[in-house]
């Protein structure tokens, strides 16, 4: 089974992919902070912030459909909240858009504002993760003083996601091949719990063998990493562009 949906585009070779992970992480963080901090009622100016992630998706050859799907998957909670919020009474506001003028409830404006901001920051995060292999992300985080214990941990986690998802996929397929009807919640749940239990046991077994493999290669609990990535000219250029873009937008629009 292939899990291309998880990291389909992170192995690309475009200019965006080659930018240092640290620069990308910090840029995403800066973008998110700026966007989240924007005024609560504004809507139209926000679209200018879309240009940034949009440019990155275009340059990195990431299909917009993929981005859209990612954002949709992450959206239910915030959309429910925002929509609920829009029913709350608040004072109305005059909105002018082109030749049209209308009175809109402030809470609806805020709701729209939050959803757009959510799309923006999610796009930025997708832009980061879709153009950076997970191992580079970890390198970046390590350089940014995230503890090495957590880094190595995350590395192992990411490595074995694919393996264990395969295992549960196999269990589910072989179960559905033999189950002919719904057996009632209690019975079905027990069967599924047994699947989870045996995946847990095999996870524990794998971790024991991985532990042996680590010891065999001289691992003594001290985590040593090889970081060869250096900030180059193009990374600085990228960082400068991002900063200038954000500062200029913020200065012009507000």
């Amino acid at each position: 089974m292939h899990h291309n949906y998880i990291d389909r585009y992170s192995d690309g070779d475009t200019i965006i992919h080659s930018i240092d992970a640290r620069v990308k992480i910090l840029s995403t963080l800066l973008f998110t902070v700026v966007v989240v901090g924007l005024p609560r009622y504004s809507i139209v100016p926000l679209i200018w912030f879309m240009i940034g992630p949009f440019t990155i998706f275009t340059l990195a050859k990431i299909p917009f459909k993929f981005v859209l799907r990612r954002i949709l998957i992450a959206s239910p909670f915030i959309i429910t909240l925002a929509v609920c919020y829009s029913f709350i009474d608040s004072d109305t506001r005059q909105v002018n858009f082109g030749p049209w003028q209308m009175q809109i409830k402030g809470s609806i404006l805020i709701c729209a504002n939050i959803i757009i901001k959510f799309i923006l920051t999610m796009s930025a995060l997708t832009a980061l993760t879709a153009t950076t292999p997970f191992s580079s992300l970890l390198y970046g985080l390590e350089k940014m003083y995230v503890p090495r214990l957590l880094i190595l941990q995350l590395a192992v986690l990411y490595r074995y996601i694919f393996l264990l998802i395969d295992v549960s996929g196999r269990y589910l397929r072989s179960y559905s091949a033999r189950s002919l009807r719904y057996l009632g919640f209690r019975r079905e749940a027990t069967i599924r719990s047994a699947m989870i239990g045996s995946i847990l046991i095999s996870s524990l077994d794998i971790s024991e063998r991985v532990n042996l493999a680590m010891i065999a290669r001289g691992f003594d609990g001290k985590i040593r990493t090889l970081s060869q990535e250096k900030i180059r000219g193009k990374d600085l250029l990228f960082a400068t562009i991002v900063c200038v873009y954000l500062v200029v937008l913020k200065a012009i629009l507000w």
Binding site: D11, A155, R209, V210, L212, A213, R217, D220, R224
Partner: protein
């Protein structure tokens, strides 16, 4: 032709017998916590540069023997690696001398990027950054995976995964390498590639497998095991060519040796 190759292997056996012992196991027994006996009275000497194949049916104790050689099992009897006992001071040296290839490459490739996996061992040896990179690249080149160094292990094929696992061991430049079923789940083409790679290697190799066709093309010295005991030790022809012995222990005579007769 046949005689000369046979003679050559005999000469090799004599020469290696005179050099220093790489692995020495004496009266080694091991029981698992649930009291099943895994190894019983194992006595085995392996010389440097020797290529030893450990064959036997499933559950014969081949993997456990490799774990014993790798100093992963706690037992009263000592296992000497290059004349060193596995004491606390020695264990680090032993880990550098002895590389272990586990049965499932997925257990051995535990990092999200191939290059990180290969550098893991050399980094733990405390080498300088330049040396680590040099060694890792060399190891990857020798298994033909240098161009895939930034790939994620789950994007590699089964054959590539096996080669990658070998590279992680080679990068530590060990003198002795134990391999647990390196041929398993490989298609014939990947198997041929693996055999080619193994035959180029100059290290002492200890390979456990139940694939006799594979082992006949790599190893000279064969150790036959069954139910935790060593049944016979001898050269390729003596053990693998012995129809009666092979059949008795659930194995078969490799095709290569049959056609020789």
């Amino acid at each position: 032709m046949r005689i000369s190759s046979c003679a050559k292997s005999n000469i090799m056996v004599i020469i290696t017998a005179m050099t220093k012992i790489a692995v020495k196991i004496k009266d080694f027994s091991f029981k698992y916590p649930d009291a099943t006996v895994a190894l019983e009275n194992i006595n085995l000497d392996i010389a440097h540069k020797e290529r030893v194949g450990i064959v036997g049916p499933n559950g014969a104790g081949k993997s456990t023997l490799l774990l014993a050689i790798g100093n992963f099992l706690k037992s009263q009897a000592p296992v000497e690696i290059d004349g060193m006992l596995s004491t606390k001071d020695n264990i680090k040296k032993i880990r550098q001398k002895l590389g272990v290839l586990f049965q499932n490459p997925n257990d051995q490739l535990f990092m999200p990027r191939l290059f990180d996996d290969v550098t893991f061992g050399p980094l733990n040896m405390g080498l300088s950054k330049e040396e680590v990179i040099l060694r890792s690249k060399e190891a990857l080149r020798s298994v033909g995976l240098l161009d895939k160094k930034d790939k994620q292990p789950h994007h590699l094929s089964a054959g590539e995964k096996r080669a990658a696992a070998i590279a992680t061991v080679l990068a530590m430049k060990p003198e002795i390498i134990t391999m647990d079923e390196p041929d398993s789940s490989l298609d014939p083409r990947s198997q041929n590639k693996l055999i080619e790679l193994l035959n180029q290697m100059s290290q002492t190799l200890i390979i456990a497998t139940c694939n006799v066709n594979f082992i006949a093309r790599v190893c000279n010295k064969i150790v036959l095991m069954d139910s935790g005991k060593i049944i016979a030790i001898g050269n390729r022809k003596e053990i693998l060519g012995n129809q009666e012995l092979m059949n008795k222990h659930g194995l078969e005579v490799p095709a290569q040796l049959i056609s020789d007769d």
